[in-house]
Symmetry: C2
Subunit: 402 residues, 2 copies
């Protein structure tokens, strides 16, 4: 008998028929003799509908009450799923945040789970399936809290850790993690196994399958995950510590981001504190800076700093830079239609020539590289946006992902 956490996202429980389908998935697992904790999101569209209602009341709707409002979404799914399981003669019970309780800390709408009382549920698992609302908890002073959008993944990982679950399966509306976007690149392939790091890099640059902070938590506690589709029987993607993965390929996937813009400050003074002076006001204005590239300057006097931002923040960013009295530079240049294309792979660190191969491939397609940034498991280049799909296809092919 093993203990499984099964998490079902919003589209997986989006209609009564789908909730009944989820109940059947759970029944199969239960009939195998497994102990099951099911964690559910609000029905798809519900959270947005509730947020819209709150905004119709006030654009600055009170955050404590917003959490009370939003928490109702998962409560509805919990009750319906527990009812659907009982209809299948599976003993089952919904457990609300305060009934467990799921203890959180931090601000309303942005809390973190810090503890879950496992005793009562652990005992109940001997009898039936526990159905738990994702995305929410209660604070020490007994207010309802939520843990940010997509937070049901975080609930699943926290439960997997605290209940010492044998498996934690994230059921969603895709088959798993793909080597690149399957909607745009038809030769994209599902990845069977991936490391937490790779998953994070792929997800942060576009392959949005799981919430990143939940993957980080799983990595921190070494909790194996599996992402799979609610709607097919196909195998999903297993997410492990990279030590458990045998890398036959240097590159696991190709990711890309859209709607980026690039800014370059030419002739910046090369002295300590300059970068901080540039980025502090951007941070204060909540501008999300992605890639930052600075080369070693030849004469240690002047250097160039390039960074990327979302395109719709370009004008605002330029204005802040121009009004910034604490920095000196010769000129600001920008390119408002760029894309970031990245190859990701934990195997690349042990494979020589990956970087060269990437650059050569792009050159063969006559794609000019505007900037380069690398980490241990990722190489990203900035290119003209119009070349994005060509670049992704080429890289997907030359790294044997097709």
């Amino acid at each position: 008998m093993i203990k499984k956490i099964l998490k079902f996202g919003g589209t997986s429980v989006g209609t009564i028929e789908r909730i009944q389908h989820v109940a059947n998935i759970i029944k199969k697992e239960h009939d195998l003799g497994n102990k099951i904790i099911a964690i559910v999101s609000a029905m798809s569209g519900k959270t947005n509908e509730l947020i819209k209602m709150s905004q119709d009341v006030s654009e600055d709707f009170d955050k404590r009450e917003l959490d009370v409002l939003l928490a109702s979404g998962e409560q509805v799914t919990c009750a319906l799923l527990a009812g659907a399981l009982r209809k299948l003669n599976i003993k089952s019970k919904s457990w609300l945040n305060w009934q467990i309780p799921i203890l959180t800390e931090g601000d309303n709408t942005n809390s973190r789970i810090i503890n879950v009382n496992t005793n009562k549920i652990e005992e109940y698992l001997n009898e039936g399936v526990a159905v738990i609302p994702g995305f929410q908890g209660i604070s020490k002073d007994r207010n309802i809290t939520t843990i940010g959008r997509g937070g049901s993944d975080a609930t699943a990982v926290a439960f997997a850790k605290l209940f010492r679950a044998d498996e934690c399966i994230i059921y969603t509306d895709v088959d798993g993690v793909y080597s690149t976007d399957p909607n745009k690149i038809p030769v994209a392939k599902k990845i069977d196994k991936i490391s937490y790091d790779e998953m994070l890099e792929l997800s942060s640059v576009g392959a949005k399958v799981m919430q990143s902070s939940a993957v980080q938590t799983a990595m921190m506690y070494d909790i194996p995950l599996e992402v799979k589709s609610t709607f097919t029987d196909r195998k999903g993607t297993k997410i492990f510590n990279q030590e458990n993965i045998d890398y036959s390929k240097s590159v696991t996937g190709v990711a890309y981001s859209k709607d980026d813009a690039k800014l370059t400050l030419l002739g910046v003074e090369d002295k300590p504190g300059v970068a901080a002076n540039i980025f502090e006001p951007l941070n204060n204005a909540q501008i999300n800076v992605d890639m930052v590239i600075q080369n070693i300057s030849a004469d240690h006097k002047k250097t160039d700093i390039t960074f990327t931002i979302k395109r719709d923040e370009l004008l605002k960013t330029k204005k802040i830079l121009e009004n910034n009295q604490s920095i000196n530079y010769n000129e600001i240049t920008h390119n408002e239609k760029v894309a970031k294309v990245s190859i990701v792979g934990a195997g690349m660190v042990s494979t020589p020539g990956v970087t060269y191969k990437m650059f050569k491939g792009l050159a063969e397609e006559n794609i000019n590289i505007l900037a380069i940034s690398t980490s241990e498991i990722k190489i990203s280049v900035i290119i003209d946006e119009k070349n994005t799909l060509n670049a992704v296809k080429k890289l997907h092919t030359i790294f044997d992902l097709d």
Copy 2:
């Protein structure tokens, strides 16, 4: 500074605009320096929508989970109203069933409030408005429970009692209690003051303004109520103990019921236990028997028993009577299109001739009386359904209610 319970029904909080309107009503009361507890229903249509979802899952949906499901409706209204009040700079907070707690006993979907922890809310009323979900509570073993349809009225009355409120106002979509149905009889007049008994009699025969069991509870603890419209500034109807009402009129209102049928058992043996033998199997089949009339039999051997039921239960009822081996009678007759018309008034007991006046009025309209039943504050007659409106109009006029 006085303490007020303000209860807002489903139509009063049916849209965001209406919730904002309710927030303004509360603000006015709060700005006068009153302590306010607001009790809210689910937004109109919401409870039915949730019930429909549960029925789509299973016609025999688990009752514990149904309560978890339904309770989400008032939770949503609470959060939205508390947020709307904060938008008006009124300090306010939603208090969910378990946060108070509201303790209930009895079965799921049919519980009763037995206690409310008043301490924390009492303290909070010094700072702000407490917003409370009607219709729900938690059981001793910390399951969510609901207290039956229309149960928000019961929550309001329980809070009025336990918080020793100075006023308990039931805001709804009608102006108050009318002397008869204003939709059918245009001369119907709003009643300024009414006793609990009269309210119960009027409500049980069609003038559905408040849930009857909530009125009974208010009567039991002598809690004065007021029913008024959320949508106008007009005065509502105050509901008191009848000692506090000065009766200038013998009759307060005329009520009528629709879709009734009448059954008569002719020649029933007149001996102890016969009535029980007749009605026990009907009760077991959950047939709702309304008026029962039995005359003293002249010879103490045979008597006739007449009773009314809802028309759509006529066939079922006849069948049960015919299969009932424990009773003897000569014949069963029925009339499937009858109506019950009642005059209600706590003043009638001290006014001679009310009964005669009623019968004379009906005779003037050539309306034949099929059966008569009287109580201290009500006289009901069964007539052919086609005469209903004529009868109501005539009685409304002759008892000076126009």
